[in-house]
């Protein structure tokens, strides 16, 4: 049973690992950059799934962390600091700090009020980005190149960057898996099922929820660091509420609270967007009804469908 449950993640990561080695297909820089983008958003979706799927905390401002991570790269680069060994810690630290402050305030509220207060903080981050005139303001800023790793420009080629993102995805996925099956993760899930009972048996839910919120924000900041490097461009557009909404849609499309679903959802969303928009200018006319149909007829998103197909139980 354990083995069957591992089939999906093993095949996902296996496919991602061999893709660049598949002859002409794998040497196509465009395909590599599309899949790298999918993996970056998969990291963001994984981090959102931690709070959305496991914590039942619907954050509608998660894209703010993408922006914070990206701006850490942009602002440091603008001052000549292109070293990832400096940029990544800064990106993670600022994301964590922002999550700590906004989380401490937001977690006072519940349900839709939580959704809206996280939206409020997301919007504040967005407008702050717009007001950064020295760093391009609304237009955003172009980076001089990808980040350096210990002084070496090893991420410059699409293939090298691909493996870099892949490595980060594996690490983040492993960390999230460890987290959700730990005692800490069980408390978080317990709170999702019955918050009052957890409080009654002596857990201070607030500190647990704040911790997971900070972890999720920090991981999404890492995705922001990678996104800035992939596009070599930083802009407030990474922080719009529409982008936060898209992240939620990715997680839901894949299937809530199953980590694998977050990766599948990000892939399905971005590849459908890429594929359909290549076929027709009116691709949203097809994508919109697709989402509605998924909700109506494929409960639990793609993972729900996968579980029904394979007969595996609750993958949580």
């Amino acid at each position: 049973m354990i083995m069957r449950r591992e089939i999906l993640p093993l095949s996902i990561f296996g496919a991602l690992a061999v893709l660049p080695l598949l002859g002409s297909f794998g040497s196509d820089a465009f395909i590599l950059s599309i899949v790298a983008r999918v993996m970056i958003f998969a990291i963001a979706a994984l981090s959102l799934d931690l709070i959305l799927g496991y914590g039942a905390l619907v954050s509608f401002g998660h894209a703010a962390f993408l922006g914070i991570g990206a701006y850490a790269v942009g602002i440091l680069s603008a001052h000549g600091i292109r070293e990832a060994a400096i940029q990544i810690p800064v990106a993670l630290f600022v994301s964590a700090l922002f999550a700590l402050v906004t989380g401490a305030i937001s977690l006072r509220t519940k349900g839709i009020y939580f959704i809206m207060i996280t939206l409020a903080f997301g919007q504040m981050a967005y407008f702050f980005g717009v007001s950064l005139a020295a760093y391009g303001g609304d237009d955003g800023m172009t980076l001089p190149g990808r980040s350096l790793f210990f002084g070496y420009d090893i991420a410059a080629s699409e293939r090298a960057f691909y493996f870099l993102v892949f490595a980060f995805l594996v690490v983040v996925y492993a960390a999230c898996r460890t987290l959700v099956i730990s005692r800490f993760g069980r408390v978080i899930r317990g709170a999702r099922e019955n918050a009052q009972r957890m409080e009654a048996i002596g857990f201070s839910l607030f500190s647990y929820q704040l911790t997971i919120y900070v972890i999720a924000g920090t991981l999404c900041g890492l995705a922001g660091f990678l996104l800035a490097n992939q596009t070599q461009f930083v802009s407030p557009a990474y922080m719009t509420w529409q982008r936060s909404g898209e992240l939620i849609v990715m997680v839901l499309l894949g299937g809530l609270g199953s980590l694998n679903g977050a990766i599948l959802g990000a892939a399905a969303f971005l590849l459908l967007e890429e594929g359909l928009s290549h076929l027709t200018e009116y691709w949203k006319l097809y994508f919109g009804p697709f989402l509605v149909l998924v909700v109506l007829f494929a409960r639990g998103g793609l993972m729900g469908g996968f579980k029904r197909l394979t007969g595996t139980g609750d993958g949580r």
Partner: protein
């Protein structure tokens, strides 16, 4: 032995045929905004370019031409992805786009670092005109500031003493007002920045009414401009001269209609410009797309002519990038706007006019040339461009 030789010969023939076929086919990628409220600008650019290709029998520079259109959705990271698809997967020779400055910032590097040339039919930011100019980047529109400068110069020349400025709160808005102030030396009685995408200007109009300026300058592109112009007239302010940039043009006039009549804009062209090429262009565009072309369509049409001229001057050899670049710099074609040269930074050197909104005899609304404000105007950043880099 004979057989082997034959195979070799056949192979060589096939190879030559292959390379000849590869040279005969030109691929152009168009990346413009085709979704959201600003989609109409992208549609004009796309239609203008396609019209030129159609009129030349589907051939630019004598080569069969494939045009691939993609929508940047006005999202910079989406645009980067689409552009990478164009240059890496589709192997286009030219990328034509975008409409918006923030998208240009994002796609500039991926294109100019690739094997393709980037030709902007609209966005012309200051950074790429100055120190960051690039030999693979050309512009068929203008340097953004120049259009705003037209109105600043006009306000100064007409002797207005007190000017009220209005622009959206983003980089282009700030650049816009800086451009106006470069030539206007009178008093600025109000300088208001509104949130991008704001549609109700009642608060700002009340401030204008209270300030009683000699004239108003506004930069409000797209839907914002539609609303501002109509509300400006509704608020009874139309007796105060309305100078604007990208606020009253052929993309917004179908919605502004009578409300915009008499309002001023700055431009490098207007549909009623008198030259045979232009008259034919406007007629063909209106017949094909049932709307009056704006500068977006004209500049994209010129972009196609520029590519055509460059390929001809390079003798049809798409692989010879230096010859193509020389051809692009020479810009040996008859622009719809008449006077047109490419400057040292890849941006145009051209004339600028004050234009005014009129209703044509056929009932449609359009801008109309009033007076020439600048001749052979070079943007102020060109002197910072060192062509060696």
């Amino acid at each position: 032995m004979m057989k082997a030789k034959l195979f070799v010969t056949l192979g060589a023939v096939a190879l030559m045929a292959g390379s000849a076929a590869a040279q005969e086919k030109l691929k152009v990628g168009i990346v413009v905004t085709l979704s959201g409220p600003s989609a109409v600008l992208g549609q004009q650019a796309r239609d203008g370019f396609n019209l030129a290709v159609k009129q030349m029998g589907g051939k630019l520079g004598g080569l069969d031409t494939e045009v691939i259109v993609v929508d940047d959705e006005l999202k910079p990271d989406v645009a980067v992805n689409k552009v990478k698809g164009l240059v890496e997967r589709d192997q286009v020779n030219f990328v034509v786009g975008p409409i918006f400055s923030n998208v240009l910032q994002a796609i500039h590097k991926p294109v100019v670092d690739s094997n393709a040339f980037l030709i902007s039919p609209n966005a012309g930011t200051s950074n790429f005109a100055g120190p960051q100019c690039n030999p693979n980047f050309f512009v068929t529109s203008y340097q953004n500031d120049q259009v705003h400068e037209v109105l600043g110069k006009t306000a100064q020349d007409k002797g207005y003493k007190r000017l009220f400025l209005l622009a959206p709160n983003y980089q282009a808005g700030k650049d816009s007002l800086a451009g106006v102030k470069r030539h206007f030396k009178g008093e600025i009685v109000g300088e208001v920045y509104t949130p991008l995408g704001q549609l109700d200007f009642s608060a700002e109009l009340a401030q204008i009414a209270a300030a009683k300026p000699d004239a108003v300058f506004a930069f409000m592109p797209g839907g914002m401009g539609v609303n501002l112009v109509r509300q400006y007239r509704q608020a009874g302010l139309a007796n105060i001269p309305f100078l604007s940039a990208f606020t009253v043009d052929e993309s917004t006039l179908p919605a502004q209609k009578e409300a915009a009549i008499g309002f001023f804009g700055g431009a490098n062209w207007a549909p009623d410009m008198k030259n045979p090429q232009n008259e034919a262009f406007v007629k063909a565009y209106e017949a094909a797309y049932n709307s009056v072309p704006g500068t977006y369509a004209m500049q994209a049409y010129d972009a196609a002519l520029l590519i055509d001229a460059a390929i001809k001057s390079a003798g049809g050899k798409l692989s010879d990038k230096n010859a193509l670049r020389a051809g692009l710099k020479k810009a040996d074609f008859q622009s719809l706007r008449g006077n047109f040269k490419i400057g040292v930074n890849g941006y145009p050197i051209q004339d600028f006019y004050l234009v005014q909104v009129v209703q044509r005899p056929d009932g449609k609304f359009a801008t109309s040339l009033r007076e020439k404000v600048f001749s052979d105007y070079v943007d102020v950043y060109a002197k910072d461009c060192k062509p060696s880099n």
